[in-house]
Subunit: 204 residues, 2 copies
């Protein structure tokens, strides 16, 4: 068989694209429900919290009111807190006991988790908040500090337009089954493994 000419190749590519377009068009025509969504980001790869913060920036660009509850207190001054915490349209709460390997204290962690959840519950019931980010919330279920049923109930009864994002390495089955969107971020490679030191502006 003779080789295809450039023109023939292009025609085949065009036909493929048109076929793809038909599939996409059909899906778009079917997607007519207008409401807020729940989005969960899990996995061991870099990018879960930053993806949620990037989506929040998008919401802010469209004038939405946003709120963040960070369930684990890490470093003192994170870039996300310095940046978003200063904005009038963002309510930014860093909760958690300030967990470190050296100062583990399950009682204080339990109490901090409950306080963070009280805050989160209020935000999930507030129609003035358009976008809620519950950062690293899934660890609370893993460690048994909070009950996932309470989260599911709050998500279910939240204002219809409200978008919610949640992050954490792993999540309980019930949460995985209930969210609208779930992306799992796999670590294919990390600079840290090649000896590059973690740095502000990237890791925090």
């Amino acid at each position: 068989m003779p080789n295809k000419t450039e023109e023939e190749k292009r025609a085949i590519q065009e036909a493929k694209l048109l076929k793809k377009k038909a599939v996409v068009d059909e899906r778009i025509a079917k997607a007519t429900i207008e409401r807020g969504v729940s989005i969960l980001l899990t996995g061991n790869g870099k990018g879960k919290s930053s993806s949620a913060f990037g989506t929040m920036a998008r919401a802010l660009g469209h004038g939405r009111k946003c709120a963040v509850v960070q369930f684990i207190k890490g470093r003192t001054e994170t870039g996300e807190q310095k940046f978003f915490g200063a904005l009038p349209d963002v309510e930014f709460h860093v909760m958690g006991h300030g967990f470190t390997w050296e100062t583990r204290n399950p009682e204080l962690e339990q109490k901090a988790a409950e306080q963070a959840w009280e805050l989160a519950k209020g935000l999930l019931a507030n129609p003035e908040v358009d976008f809620v980010l519950l950062d690293e919330v899934t660890y609370m279920y893993k460690y048994g500090y909070l009950q996932v049923e309470d989260l599911l109930a709050a998500l279910e009864s939240r204002p219809k337009h409200q978008n919610v994002m949640m992050t954490g390495r792993t999540a309980p089955r019930a949460l995985l089954d209930s969210v609208d969107t779930h992306s799992k971020i796999a670590n294919e490679r990390h600079a840290f493994a090649s000896g590059v030191k973690a740095q502000e502006g990237i890791e925090w």
Copy 2:
């Protein structure tokens, strides 16, 4: 065998955590190289561009100078452009021909890709830019508009402290092999498939 008491369970958990801590401590001690990193986000899941924008917000929180080149022009007014484009510390370029299914024009797309790359190359050579985001750049290699070797050379010779993030569904092998960090975002579920309409503040 008798069941473990709560105290015994806690002691086992503590021992596990201490073991984990030793591994983490050793890795931290080994990661001593201080330099900018190249980060690639691929995969079919939601969250690639938003993760890059969230990391950029983190960099901005620490006072870094940032620059964005979007290689594909999508909607007219995206939230990320409205939000970040207004900031003094961000240089924001939306490039690309404005690809739509209806108005495909390979010649114009080729030209737009080259113009975007000229801009990107300048940023990757500029020591005053701390963070460069090349959004959806990998499609340029997939469609053959740009050569990945040019990107690799520019990444290799860029200022040592500069962090670079790149996004796109798939990436050429040479790029996958060269970046410091690579996360792959898998689509586990998407609201769109359940009939929920794409919305501003989330998808754009």
